[in-house]
Symmetry: D2
Subunit: 334 residues, 4 copies
């Protein structure tokens, strides 16, 4: 149960607050006692301490009742644990989504797709509309880029994951993509979430650079409310103070969504680290922390990429990553 707000455990008259607090701590829950006017005691329980089903706490000796404020994730709660995308499934075998930061040309995307598909990668990503910090930078080939990517994917039996940046483009993206992505810069743009959700497709929802887990969940809920057929969360690093990595990949959030809440969550170590030399270790670590897959930037010639080359893997590296994840991988002792 996605219980994310603090809640209250009220004791029977003969309940011993220390004993009950001790039982809560055994379940990983921090609590603090409040005495009511009539001498009755309530323990305020911090939801942030562990994921539990509050209902189960009513069986603790000495507990009279448990009061929870409602939490707005009822649609996420009911979402299936496996999502079909074409002939593929997210939530079963680890998913690797790979492709270039930008779709640069018809040949480029076809080449990359061919190479990746030959190595078993089944999801193709690529930016057709590029959100760029400077208004004067290259912003992508738009619908034309999408069409190139669709064609490449169809040729090689892949599924397309691509970002929708604008309400205006939603229908065009929906027509050509298998999974619509909402990027971290747009995560909190509610109009866009409503518009993308309305397309009725599965959505990959990247976490905003400074969004709390709660805000992220509620944006997922919003997508489902608007009509999205499924939501797959994607952790891509939060903004922090260290200049040596572009972002901090928050694998605690991945573990919480996956193990705690039973949601589908992927990780994007390319943006999470912003350094190619950390992408593979973080990709493996992500799946161990609970991610159902990873999204990585790949370029056939990182040295010539129009954007983000230095964080891109080669197709070969992505294929090895995919292979190891598909096979299960052994972590060698010492």
């Amino acid at each position: 149960m996605i219980q994310a707000s603090n809640f209250f455990v009220t004791l029977r008259e003969d309940g011993d607050p220390k004993e009950v607090a001790s039982e809560l701590a055994r379940r990983g829950l921090w609590s603090s006692p409040r005495r009511n006017r009539d001498g009755q005691t309530t323990l305020a329980v911090e939801a942030r301490s562990a994921v539990v089903n509050p209902r189960e706490l009513e069986t603790i000796p000495g507990v009279a009742s448990v009061f929870t404020a409602g939490f707005d994730c009822m649609l996420l709660e009911k979402q299936p644990k496996i999502v079909a995308v074409g002939d593929q499934f997210i939530g079963e075998a680890p998913t690797v989504v790979a492709g270039p930061c930008s779709v640069e040309s018809k040949e480029q995307i076809a080449d990359i797709a061919g190479e990746l598909a030959g190595g078993g990668v089944r999801f193709l990503r690529g930016g057709a509309f590029k959100p760029r910090t400077s208004p004067h930078s290259f912003h992508g080939h738009g619908v034309k880029g999408l069409e190139w990517m669709r064609e490449a994917a169809d040729t090689y039996g892949m599924q397309v994951v691509t970002e929708c940046l604008s309400e205006e483009d939603a229908d065009a993206v929906s027509a050509l993509a298998d999974v619509m992505q909402v990027g971290s810069r747009s995560m909190s743009s509610q109009a866009l979430l409503n518009r993308v959700g309305r397309c009725g497709k599965p959505v990959l929802l990247k976490r905003g650079m400074a969004s709390t887990i709660k805000e992220w969940l509620l944006c997922g809920e919003r997508l489902l409310m608007a009509g999205a057929s499924a939501v797959v969360f994607c952790e891509r690093g939060i903004r922090s103070f260290d200049p040596w990595t572009r972002n901090v990949l928050d694998l605690g959030a991945v573990a919480m969504l996956s193990h705690g809440f039973g949601l589908l969550v992927m990780a994007d170590p390319s943006h999470g680290a912003g350094r190619r030399d950390l992408v593979l270790p973080l990709a493996y670590a992500s799946t161990v922390a609970g991610a159902t897959g990873v999204m990585v930037e790949v370029h056939n010639d990182p040295g010539k990429a129009v954007s983000d080359g230095p964080q891109a893997l080669t197709p070969r590296e992505a294929i090895v990553l995919n292979q190891r994840l598909q096979d299960g991988f052994a972590v060698a002792a010492g």
Copy 2:
């Protein structure tokens, strides 16, 4: 090579800036060109983009010379990759350091040590001097607690890792501990680093809550300069904005220290998450990201712990963690 400052690649007169930049990008390096007055071109390379040995870049066609500002980690650079602690080694088989947040009594620490040692855990941690936010909280049993822990460790053939909080206590801690710990609240306290280093022991250096990787490295260098026999870094989560986890465990930093710089680094998922239900997934993920071991809080009865109970594992859980890490563990495919 621990090259952490930006550096400069100067081209031959016939060097093609685009070609060289392309070669740098292939190695994961972001660069930007500068033209000198005489038309010569220099590429400023961002050290944050990847770990490379700048010397190797001189072999790229078109490169005349590489200029690096010195970086102050020469002692870390030369530190051995394996550290002996008693009959144990850090840097070989995964190290599990386990024990209670606070040493509460002679019996408590002996019980926990016995149980952990019986399950193969060889490093015992425990707080004798406790840094607490409020001056009115329990601050530990001090030297008496240390002696209890030493005795328990000797009985069961374990090594002791414990924090030194004060310059005044350094000799007492040094006399009783095998590894001296500098905590995250003290990481930037240079007088303490100097004093602890002078004891000549191996030191476990936790990362400060908001310390950059560079500051952390330099504190390690300071310990070696002061005389520490070895430094093992320990990532324990950085402070961020989300209230649902106590800190954000930065596994990108672990990967960088381990894979990038070849340093010994552990992770503390107990403080990193502050939630028991995330400790195990993050512990496994840490070792996959490059940690040579993990440090976890363990309590024989988390419900009765005087501090941090809700984030403590049981001894049984710590033993299973240790066993899986010692055996190597297979990550099952989907």
Copy 3:
């Protein structure tokens, strides 16, 4: 000049690097020397250290040339320092923008507008479309709310500032507002910026919760490029780790935009602090730091507000704030 990227000062052959570095430090600039292959020296200057016109540095004895990478703020650079909005001006006398978080009813907005206008406040704000974290919360009265606000403003001779949340609503908002606001949740939504800019109105651009100053500037540049007649920046607090204030109001950013770059910038202490008891001290401090005005939440009965009541000022408090700002205010010694 909005020079925000690092730049390079190359010395004459007879230039003394220490002397030139010293001159740069006198101007507040951090620099570090690089030697070229031919022995020539370049000083890399950190733009983050101070705002200067790089051209002026060419007059320093020993300097041969200054090399700056282009920076993409040419439109901001040329924007006038005073913006006319109806019969009012932003950039002259301090501007107070006041009104309720949500437009709740026709009567409510009319009452508040009447009271504020009677006390000299000339800009009315109010949320018609409300961005709310939970999809199940109240989202505002939409266009109807906008019409009520327009009517209230016209009755009392006020200018309307209101947020545009969606590309779809841009024309409706443009038709009824005098200044279109882009909120912090949407700041990095480039499609929305393009669409709002196209309306050709002045835009109040709130800073994103985790946006850097550079990203914020570039979003302003984007608005101008798309057609906005003017951009007024608005600092509203960045997300940080302390739970006692909702955000951290970054008055250093206000000072930099105002004093350093000569841009129009306001501050929103209501969201910046999230606590009513800090709103007034921060409002005065903002104008002293360089803000050309403040935006505050006001409610005729904060106890009954449908949203954000506890951070709202009463109309009376807003009027006193406005009066003191219009009169210039003396800060008493001791």
Copy 4:
């Protein structure tokens, strides 16, 4: 009253929860209702929403009782609002503490002191022991530097404020300084706080780079508990994500300590901004936000400073700042 933990308002049987919540909101307090088993209602009140005396809330119609968990600031609560330092007072007329980052030589500190004192500045700061990130940097002249500073201060009738970095140096610093400073790198070093407090002097306590307001307050409480005669807090910027300023000066924290809690608090805009061009606007803004004074770095020749030159003011600038603050300053309208 320094009430920093959430607290609970229990209603009479005939109390109307909506009415009481409304009254709380009028006082700036966010609350949320909890129903007990017997139908009685309690409102949980967020202390972070405003500073109030919980006792006063018992007069609200419908309120039965108010329950507050104790908060550990009883010594801070009782501290006088004005602190005598030699013939000077902190807490009355604005205090300007000025001086170089490092005491470089006997002549340097005497020159700066003479110039500052001639312009009315009465507090001299200067680093004798310097905390530096790299162990290989200049670490100050130590006790000799302190003696030079003492002599300069005595010659010109100034009070000395200087940092104590080490438990070992505490007595030496105490013997020569009028106010002992604990720096931001050491704020959470409890052994140092205990040792410095034991000297019985007034202490200037800088805020840690990532310390919460609550942690900061508790470190102040610890100093008083250890014997410090008074604590003056000093906000110096918290670490955040923007590379253009060194830190973010948190004037909301200044307003809260000053206006909310009635504590003595200063601001250090030199470190807060790390850019000379922002120091003066932020200094004035700080006092308007509630600071009882400012601490600024000054150098007679910033171009030659051994450390932090680019953020130092000239003595002349510091004198004008002091003069304007002593005179009270008028903020001109538009």
